[in-house]
């Protein structure tokens, strides 16, 4: 039987208190920036408009709308927002100052990522009734859809920290964000690539998100346009794309740990 000592428990609760306090402040700052807020909530839901142009239950329109929504949700509230918050707080010397106190680096990074991840989850959850109202078919595995949003959001948060490590300042983030944005978008167009190229493109996080959304909601396997997967088989189909996202997240953690900078270059 394992027991948790009071010291470990109190250290855990202290870590939780520090992370929550910092997250609350970061969320407040995010909410105060109206443009940021619009980008975070409105932009990801705009692709839902694709559903207005197809027949009710049209798998093609639903696939396009839902994958675009999830990709936008992990790009704007998560990736770009976390990247810009991290670089801005570093430029403001906030990160350096907070690191002189009891807060640990992991808590500091978690507090920067959490507001964006929570917004992405809200967008993912709101997308379900919205898509149904706009005529999308019933999701085959809604739990897997929500899990896909969560794993994708965490992966892109980690990629944001890695990008921040080599981004000089907030202005430079507009350029340095491009590689990850391309990795996210390539999945949307990969269907039209030749087979040999598509096999490589399937290893990008964007393609993994597309596969997960198509299988979890529409029951589509690979590039097929006929729904063939039932609830149980969607879990099996999710294995490879979830592994791809986990591998990108692990790579991002490793690169971030090696290269993170906590204060501006002098």
């Amino acid at each position: 039987m394992t027991t948790t000592t009071p010291t470990v428990r109190s250290e855990r609760s202290a870590a939780m208190r520090r992370t929550t306090g910092l997250t609350r402040a970061n969320a407040l700052l995010m909410l105060r920036n109206r443009l940021n807020l619009a980008y975070a909530f409105v932009l990801p839901l705009l692709p839902m408009a694709f559903l207005l142009f197809g027949d009710r239950g049209d798998v093609g329109a639903a696939g396009m709308a839902l994958t675009s929504t999830v990709v936008m949700a992990v790009l704007f509230p998560v990736f770009y927002n976390v990247l810009s918050m991290t670089v801005t707080r570093r430029d403001e010397l906030v990160l350096k100052r907070i690191r002189t106190g009891e807060t640990r680096d992991l808590e500091l990074l978690t507090s920067l990522a959490l507001p964006g991840v929570v917004v992405a989850m809200i967008v993912g959850v709101v997308a379900i009734p919205l898509a149904l109202a706009l005529g999308a078919p019933m999701p085959v595995n809604p739990a897997l859809f929500v899990l896909a949003v969560l794993v994708a959001a965490l992966t892109f948060a980690v990629l944001a920290f890695w990008t921040a490590a080599w981004t000089k300042n907030a202005e430079a983030a507009q350029i340095t964000s491009m590689p990850v944005i391309l990795l996210a978008l390539v999945g949307q167009v990969a269907v039209s690539f030749p087979e040999e190229v598509r096999r490589w493109a399937d290893l990008t996080p964007g393609a993994a998100i597309t596969d997960l959304v198509r299988s979890s909601w529409l029951g589509l396997e690979g590039t097929s346009t006929d729904p063939t997967l039932d609830f149980g088989s969607t879990w099996a189909a999710a294995g490879q794309p979830l592994l791809v996202l986990a591998a990108w997240a692990a790579l991002g953690v490793w690169l971030t740990a090696r290269s993170m900078r906590w204060e501006p270059r002098s």
């Binding site: 609350r24 402040a25 010397l93 100052r97 106190g101 009891e102």
Partner: protein, 307 residues
């Protein structure tokens, strides 16, 4: 029968609360590697006892901030050791951070948070924080609690820095140029606050460019130059190495400067000589060695002369 000489009992270790607040031994810090390596801190020894204030002085680039960053646990030393209450700031991070407060050389705040929001956030990261209202009153920012940080003056931001450092009731406070940008009145208020902390038995290590600040506050002074501490002691001890000066203009218009280690005797002899010879000493000026003259002499000395 074989006998064994009794093993002398080891002297008991000093109680933990008698450890100096800070002990730095042979500290070195280098940047870069190979041919591009630069050693900013070159073997610093420094002790700060509890209930004392130590001022670390030096010109720009002397290595003060590099030294402070290692003491604060923000960077690892290239060589040597730092002990805060007998603990290593990196391996015993949690315990050290609970007992130390830090004010960095430059303020680091999000401009869109208010003063109160900043301190509430900060308090959430501290194990046993003082009440925020108490800290606001301590640094005289209670009337600005609802103001966004971007609207604060430079001096008010500095006081907010200090407020954040005081939240954890620090036993050792490390202040990197804490009064830069403050008006004279605010500066004196901060000095009173620092003196109050010392009176409560806490230790303070501060760097400053204001020699007056060091003279007002510090029990001991360490002067850094080119990565080394070149003088350390009380103000009297630090200036003792520096000669006093007597300057006057003779009737033929020549300015004469005398340097002496015994100002009273030299001055008495000079005035006696002038009286006996009926010589008028115009613009007579006698000065004891001061911290400023000592600091300037050390800062201008070639590096090799100070080893």
């Amino acid at each position: 029968m074989a006998t064994t000489a009794p093993t002398p009992a080891r002297p008991p270790a000093p109680p933990a609360d008698r450890e100096p607040a800070l002990e730095v031994h042979e500290l070195r810090r280098s940047y870069g590697t190979g041919d591009a390596a630069f050693e900013a801190v070159r073997g610093v020894d420094l002790t700060v006892e509890r209930g004392t204030i130590v001022a670390l002085l030096g010109t720009n680039g002397a290595g003060k901030t590099s030294t402070m960053e290692v003491i604060e646990g923000l960077a690892a030393p290239s060589a040597g050791s730092v002990r805060v209450f007998g603990l290593d700031p990196i391996t015993d991070r949690a315990e050290v951070r609970r007992r130390t407060g830090v004010v960095l050389q430059e303020s680091g705040f999000s401009g869109d948070l208010t003063v109160m929001e900043t301190l509430v956030m900060e308090a959430a990261t501290v194990t046993d924080p003082r009440p925020v209202a108490e800290v606001l009153a301590l640094v005289d920012l209670d009337h600005r609690a609802g103001t966004r940080v971007l609207s604060l003056s430079g001096g008010e931001r500095r006081r907010l820095d200090l407020a954040c450092a005081l939240l954890c009731r620090p036993e050792l406070l490390m202040l990197d140029e804490p009064t830069t940008g403050l008006d004279p009145e605010s500066r004196r208020r901060v000095w009173d606050l620092i003196r109050g902390l010392r009176a409560d038995g806490n230790a303070v290590l501060l760097t400053t460019h204001y020699l007056e600040e060091a003279e007002e506050l510090a029990d001991r002074i360490a002067i850094m130059h080119a990565g080394r501490i070149v003088r350390e002691g009380t103000i009297a001890e630090v200036v003792a190495h520096q000669p006093s000066t007597v300057r006057y203009v003779t009737p033929d218009g020549e300015t004469t400067t005398l340097e002496t280690d015994d100002l009273q005797t030299t001055l008495t002899e000079l005035l006696s000589w002038a009286a006996e010879n009926d010589v008028r000493l115009d613009r007579l000026d006698a000065r004891s060695a001061s911290l400023e003259s000592t600091f300037l002499a050390l800062a201008q000395a070639p590096e090799g002369d100070l080893r």
